[in-house]
Symmetry: C2
Subunit: 491 residues, 2 copies
């Protein structure tokens, strides 16, 4: 690759930006804050979509589609929601352009002003619950278990590709239930689906937890989350699942007749993950030589590069590659033969390494004589010579091992970065010297949480679900605390 690589140590943030750019994942668009997701980056998102969609359907959900635009007044109906989401959003005020009478392109037609402004959805609870009102009369209409794949928009002043953009792609589940217990069980179930997906598919270990009221979704009674740890020791919220109680049912007057004939408000959950996960994936595994992709999500799992001088050699190697590709494809392995004659093998090696392809097969004339290949692993940077005979089955067994190995590496890193501290000094020291999750006592008050954030930029990422209760004293106030919570600086 024709550029100097930036290392994580030199500048973590620049390293991330370089990978996004040079691995052809995404770029900034002409519209401030919005990104263009390039084919290689989009293929990663498609892989995530496919797997998640399967998992959602396995747990009984269907897809549907609700409008992009939301009447402004809808946002005001749920008191907490409007504070959280009405601030920075794209507002549609007109529905027509016309030719500039001065001949300079087009201008907004003042006669085409909307009576009520429309908002590009920052999230769809309001428009969906205004619809559910018409769908729900009786307990027989429940539960409703829907998901939508969509674009959403939250106007952001400071953006980073994938991690924080004004427009992003996501899925949002919205479910309606007859009882609190059922809605809560759904909320937790989807958190488990997300954790399973993050750990076993993306190879990113996560901590499952509950958000404090300060960090809760605007309109939720309880927000569950999965939190990952990036290589710079900053946390990244990778998915959230909200128990919405009856808040949106009350805001949109959605009642049902129970089995006993009583009219009751409907219970709700919502849950989502977004293209932000691509950012998490990049930061969790990649190294100073570029992107590292776990096999499960890699758009290309095995790339084959021929090394040749003559046309005859080239043809023989490509013939072998084609037969190997056929064998690998039949094992559901995603393969690319890089037969470009415009680039040298060394260039190709560097490119595919930088793009994080898990396995590279190189074959030259001598390999053809010996019936061998050179097999290189992206994650460990190891190479071995392997017999062509039995190669497909070997690779079939190796890919899950690479997947597991990347997960364990990330988990070891993460586990080493969960640090218990008991005093304010220890807390501040850890934040600066061993950044990661800091397990510390907190007195449970939103004011203390805010004060800690103001002093250190660290927030409470979550109260882990599997927390053990333990008496202690708040690191800031010294007040009594009943359990540790996880602090971190976060994306």
């Amino acid at each position: 690759m024709g550029f100097d690589k930036i290392t994580r140590k030199e500048d973590y943030s620049a390293w991330y930006n370089e990978i996004v750019k040079n691995a052809d994942l995404a770029e900034h668009s002409a519209v401030k804050g919005c990104m263009v997701i390039k084919p290689y980056g989009y293929a990663i998102w498609e892989g995530m979509q496919q797997k998640l969609d399967f998992m959602f359907k396995e747990t009984g959900h269907s897809n549907a589609y609700f409008p992009l635009l939301i009447p402004k007044s809808f946002l005001s109906k749920e008191a907490a929601h409007v504070d959280g989401f009405a601030k920075e959003c794209a507002v549609v005020t007109h529905y027509r352009l016309k030719n500039d009478p001065n001949g300079k392109g087009v201008i907004v037609d003042p006669d085409a002003k909307l009576e009520e402004e429309l908002i590009i959805r920052p999230t769809s609870e309001t428009v969906i619950w205004s619809t559910y009102k018409n769908w729900i009369q009786s307990y027989r209409d429940l539960p409703i278990l829907l998901n939508q794949w969509a674009n959403v928009m939250r106007w952001e002043m400071r953006t980073r590709l994938f991690l924080r953009t004004s427009e992003f792609l996501w899925q949002e589940g919205h479910t309606a239930h007859a009882t609190k217990e059922e809605a809560l069980a759904e909320t937790v179930q989807m958190l488990e689906v997300y954790a399973d997906f993050a750990e076993n598919f993306l190879g990113v270990p996560v901590i499952k937890g509950v958000k404090t009221p300060n960090e809760r979704f605007a309109g939720a009674e309880e927000t569950f989350c999965i939190e990952g740890l990036m290589q710079d020791g900053k946390a990244l919220q990778m998915g959230t699942s909200h128990f919405l109680g009856q808040n949106f049912a009350k805001a949109f007057d959605v009642k049902f007749q129970s089995k006993e004939g009583k009219m009751e408000y409907v219970w709700a959950s919502s849950w989502g993950v977004s293209t932000r996960l691509v950012g998490a994936l990049i930061m969790a595994h990649s190294d100073d030589d570029g992107l590292v992709l776990p096999p499960n999500i890699a758009p290309i799992q095995v790339v084959m590069v021929p090394i040749y001088k003559t046309e005859e050699e080239r043809n023989a190697i490509l013939d072998y590659f084609k037969s190997l590709k056929k064998e690998l494809s039949s094992l559901n392995i995603r393969v690319k033969i890089d037969d470009r004659d415009t680039h040298k093998p060394g260039f190709k090696f560097a490119e595919w390494e930088y793009k994080g392809v898990p396995l590279r097969i190189a074959v030259g004339p001598r390999d053809m004589q010996n019936q061998t290949v050179e097999l290189a692993r992206r994650d460990t940077k190891t190479k071995e010579t392997f017999n062509q005979d039995g190669l497909a089955n070997y690779i079939h067994g190796l890919l899950p091992k690479i997947q597991e190995s990347l997960y364990l590496k990330a988990k070891t890193f993460r586990d080493e970065r969960i640090i218990e501290v008991n005093t304010w000094d220890e807390f501040v020291h850890a934040l600066d010297h061993t950044p990661g999750f800091i397990s510390a006592h907190w007195d449970g008050s939103p004011e203390t949480e805010q004060a800690i954030k103001d002093k250190t930029k660290a927030t409470i990422r979550c109260i882990p679900l599997e927390n053990k209760l333990e008496e202690g004293k708040c690191i800031l106030t010294g007040n009594k605390s009943s359990q540790r919570v996880l602090f971190a600086r976060a994306y």
Copy 2:
């Protein structure tokens, strides 16, 4: 189903609306002109997406994603394009709301006015070609073969669910090529993909043709289309593929260095189909008893309804259904067991018939004794008793036959409705008495085409690709004509 059915003869338009509503496909949303696509309707769209996505990838395309919002000035860069698309579109003028000082919800923050207004994409040529400019330097960067699945918005005053809505879902392919020949070949190739998909997957026969300049895409040099015929004799444009020449490359200054070292403008194509296809599907096959779905696209291909009095009978029948479902699933057949105990079999029969499920299996206690089932076909309304033994294989063979039969039925209808006329009187008579495609001579002038449209609401749907040249006289002006074209009233 608890409603009186409207027949096609009584009121075709109301019949369509009833099916969309009562088969749970879609509904109008709180935002004027935008629809909610309900789970059953969305599942049909998902089936289309899946198949098309596969076909696009087989022909070498990748997916990517470009921003929802387009700077207003981009629209003005291509002269014809701005006339076609800048008229009715949603305009974003502000990026923030704030609390109403009078305490009435939220208002648009006047301080958050955008310097340049942004348009919600009506189509993405402009934003994509402004991006391609940075991606293309040399012939080595070509071709670019991309597709995007996205929502788009064209403000419509008169809307009909699926057929014409302000927001709709679609795919848009955008390709860039080094030569005119290659771009033109791509344009035609994608038209063939669409025709193949419409005929062999949706079972809707289509005519492939070229649009006249009046009906051309704003910014294209040539628009190819597939045109279907609905049961009311109106035509429906089901997909278009545009040869854009160098128009957008010139508008956005996208040049490449050719193999010979010369700087040249890039050649382009774009092509798209939308959720409108769901409307076409409904209108092409359905009957007075509701939706009729071809097996290829039916979200549920086989529904099983148990008929029982006792719990014991119910259990025995459901056990049998489960084993049959397993067998059918292993043959990739999509099956639903309707085990609801809140509804009677008669209700279920009517519901699934109305929702167009191709095959229904009903089993009662006597069937269990005889080891038989009752098998009902939605398309022909025929029932037969069939042995449980060998049933799965029989169904596996039957579904493609139903698919074929629906296609042939639609094709016979369509072929009978292509009527040749030679005079103005014949033309007007045919339009009113045997509506369909009318094959007639036209003198080739846009003015004549417009005059015919003004007089009759009929437009030239296309000049068929496989047209034979034939001397004749224009039905309106009597001027010389070299070939017949297809007129119709259209959606």
